[in-house]
């Protein structure tokens, strides 16, 4: 799909089973620097499992995962990835600032780097007003933004975002889109999972569609638009827009 660009992170032929049932059968996905890849599929298609494998927290039963030239489980690979799971990994008993400071320190940032990055992140994600509040007292949308801030710490080369707009209001979605476009400008490779095609409109450069644990489509946006138009003209019922 992006033949001219070398992927920063790529997974090929991924297979994985949970408790005997196959979650992933044959998944290929890659993300390139300065591009946003939409990762589409119905709930249960295997998107989150693929992201967890790319994030290096699950070892797949088969297939290869390479991030920046290293295997996904190599600490050097994980250091290049910012992962925001669907449910933010925040501790209810910590304040927003404490949570972000902890996340930054865990990622190996120095105190000076923490101070420098925290201010701009809190500001860009509109978290400044809640930085002293306990994470347990935050709304779902705010917790999502804290999770996103955790993923952005350390200026990763690859961002893995699992349903990042879930729980956000329209203004927050707009701010998130602006932030992602800015990150794309900075050369970050972004893989953004969603089961709602409409929310990716005007944002993504490439699309990977997953169905029942298989990659069924991997194209750039222009090709997808042509395919959608062709399918719509043909009157087929299972157009990609119907994933939601």
């Amino acid at each position: 799909m992006t033949a001219a660009l070398a992927p920063v992170a790529a997974a090929r032929g991924l297979r994985h089973a949970w408790a005997g049932s196959s979650a992933l059968v044959d998944v290929d996905v890659e993300v390139c620097a300065g591009r946003i890849t939409g990762f589409l599929g119905r709930n249960g298609a295997g998107k989150s499992t693929t992201l967890r494998i790319l994030a290096g927290v699950v070892v797949p039963d088969g297939g290869t995962v390479v991030v920046g030239g290293w295997s996904a489980h190599d600490p050097r690979a994980r250091a290049q990835i910012g992962w925001a799971p669907e449910e933010p990994a925040v501790a209810d008993g910590l304040t927003v600032r404490e949570q972000l400071t902890f996340a930054a320190r865990l990622r190996g940032l120095s105190r000076r780097e923490v101070t420098a990055q925290l201010g701009s992140l809190l500001s860009s994600l509109d978290l400044t007003s809640v930085e002293a509040r306990l994470c347990g007292a935050l709304s779902r949308g705010t917790r999502r933004r804290v999770g996103l801030a955790m993923a952005l710490l350390g200026q990763p080369r690859v961002l893995l975002l699992d349903e990042p707009t879930a729980g956000l209001d329209p203004a927050q979605v707009a701010a998130l889109r602006a932030l992602l476009l800015q990150k794309r400008q900075e050369g970050v490779a972004i893989l953004l999972s969603s089961h709602v095609v409409a929310e990716l409109e005007g944002l993504i450069d490439d699309v990977v569609v997953l169905a029942r644990g298989r990659t069924v489509c991997a194209v750039d946006r222009a090709a997808l638009s042509r395919a959608v138009a062709a399918v719509a003209a043909d009157g087929a019922p299972n157009a990609p827009g119907g994933l939601a």
């Binding site: 927290v57 501790a91 990622r107």
Partner: protein, 260 residues
């Protein structure tokens, strides 16, 4: 690792679980101390009534009172260690995954949480130093007695042994917490393992004397007993360090196994 240590301590100290554990610990230690102090005073009165100086000289607060209290206090740790480990590893699956993703390795996560447990246990054990301090400051000699003569060195070694024993208990409990996904199951398994481990020497009637000797060595009881008397030897130190390191390693392996 330091970041995780600070996080876990912050979460534990400010949580309801931490408050309850601290209060229960303080109440139980105070109660055990009062019971043993009363018994010691009664024994001292009886010895003085008999008028036998040799018998009075045998009434050493260090051996008969403080060691006894700490010997009972360590049983509390059999209950506390599984609760502590459960709390330390009670992160939801997403948070556990994220920690394994963001930390340099599973070793960082395992040792960070274990270190927090050790700090807490060391703090609890250290709080028992208040007992010899109370005796030294407020202890009054009975008529004809010499009063409490607290052996500071013995008190420090005994407290250190209590902390080492507690650290081993927490490390063993952390193995279960790292392996089992359900915190309650982890806590129950850890408690049962710790009790069985503690009671190993009592199996002497079931096994031959040779095996019993090995079992007694494997159990924490004999090492603890020597430590509480202030006579910890090199073999005991090796036992405490070896047990802790082995359990820490198993905890890390258990966490790494989570990347399934």
């Amino acid at each position: 690792m330091t970041a995780l240590l600070v996080r876990e301590l912050r979460l534990l100290v400010t949580s309801a679980t931490g408050g309850v554990l601290g209060a229960v610990w303080a109440l139980c230690v105070a109660a055990l101390f009062l019971v043993d102090l009363t018994a010691f005073e009664q024994a001292e009165q009886r010895a003085l009534a008999l008028g036998d100086p040799a018998l009075v000289a045998l009434l050493d607060v260090n051996d008969l009172l403080l060691s006894s209290v700490l010997g009972n206090v360590v049983v509390l740790l059999l209950f506390f260690a599984p609760l502590l480990a459960m709390r330390l590893f009670a992160d939801d699956p997403t948070t556990r995954d994220w920690l394994l993703h963001a930390a340099p390795s599973a070793t960082t996560v395992g040792l960070g949480k274990l270190a927090a447990g050790v700090v807490i246990v060391a703090g609890l054990a250290g709080s028992t130093l208040a007992l010899p301090a109370l005796l030294a400051v407020f202890g009054q000699p009975a008529a004809g007695g010499t009063g409490p003569v607290v052996d500071v060195a013995q008190a420090v070694v005994a407290t250190g042994t209590l902390a080492a024993c507690g650290a081993c208990f927490v490390a063993v409990a952390c193995v279960a917490a790292a392996v089992f996904d359900v915190p309650l199951a982890a806590g129950l398994v850890a408690f049962l393992v710790l009790v069985a481990w503690w009671l190993l020497p009592s199996t002497v009637t079931l096994v031959g004397p040779d095996v019993a000797r090995w079992l007694a060595w494997a159990s924490p009881s004999s090492h603890l007993e020597r430590g509480l008397r202030g006579v910890l030897d090199g073999g005991d130190v090796v036992w405490f360090v070896g047990t802790f390191v082995s359990a820490a390693l198993a905890t890390v392996l258990g966490l790494a196994r989570g990347r399934r």
